[in-house]
Symmetry: C2
Subunit: 199 residues, 2 copies
Amino acid sequence: MRTSVQTKEIRDAILDATDQLLARYGYGKMTIDDLAKEVGIGKGSIYLHFASKEEIALSHVDRIIERLCTRLESISDEKIMPEKKLEKMLLMRVTFRFDSVQHYTQSINDLLSSLRSKLLEHRKLYHENEAALLAKVIKEGQTKKKFQPGDPLETARLFLLATNSLLPFNLTTSELGERSDIEKKTQKIAKILLKGIKK
Amino acid sequence: MRTSVQTKEIRDAILDATDQLLARYGYGKMTIDDLAKEVGIGKGSIYLHFASKEEIALSHVDRIIERLCTRLESISDEKIMPEKKLEKMLLMRVTFRFDSVQHYTQSINDLLSSLRSKLLEHRKLYHENEAALLAKVIKEGQTKKKFQPGDPLETARLFLLATNSLLPFNLTTSELGERSDIEKKTQKIAKILLKGIKK
DNA sequence: ATTTTGACCAGAAAGCGAATTAGGTCATTG
DNA sequence: CAATGACCTAATTCGCTTTCTGGTCAAAAT
């Protein structure tokens, strides 16, 4: 069954094309025909991989977060102090998401207004996934007696919440400001938060 | 010149009516005729106080923030420890803004999409005003050797940034979640931030 | 047999001209 | 001279037709 490998590849190619077209046209103006042409397959074939246009866009966003989570996990596995890990993870979360949508000048609003409720649901899931990854590191820090005791998952959620306003969710990257600025702010908030939970 | 007092009263009455109609119809559906009728004055008289419909809506938002800042200042003047002040101020900022727009079920999006760029500009100013108020208290804490040294204004900005995602700016109150939940989260973040700057 | 396709369908969206509405002005009013 | 509402025009809405597009599926390709 070679299909399963190919299937994954085509699925990924579709999402790559989605990224292109989303950046070029925005969600509303991106058509399935465009997409099929960009990928080089028939229109019907798109529907062998996705149930609807909505699902394509959502999967595209999902993929960004999956990739982010992979990065977060590898930071989590590095051989450095847990406090350094947390700092790096928070910064990675902000910069990775910034970079992932930087080329969408204004089409984030388009996406958000078209898929608002679905995106908000997904966002909750992302948040929980990311929180679980942070929590692991917080727990590690607690075990090593570096962090104060307390529910790691709850603390993780608070850390994410405290840096959420730096993410390009409802604001475009241009509205957020300079990347270097975002980066600095994130680092500073992370520093304060970390001091806030250290022993 | 009794007018100056009356002027202020009428201006306020117009903004009160704006609040009503914004909640009932949203920005787009609220007409100047509606507004004049609600206030009980002629349409032309509206324009003795405001230059445009945009300015009315923006002034309405401005007024919310002005009222918030008054509250923040009185907390700042209370005879309690600076750390308590900061906690109360951060909580006040979140809850006051939550309460101020709770009755707009969905019309925040309407406002935001109509006045996006102007609102973003104003938001920066609000942020700076609020930051100045927090900075005063942070400075007080530093003077009393309770907080670590460092630019108070910068720290203040970071504190606001870290709680910004709890504000009903792009998300409606219903999308933000339960008020009691928001409150708890704010308090917890505030606690961590404070520990983060304590000596 | 299984995968891929694109012509096809129905509903959504995009024009478009006409009619209505609503932001903003200003001569008149009290 | 502050307050007004009839008035002007630009924006919006409406009703309609045409076009487009998300999604399906019988047929073609493999």
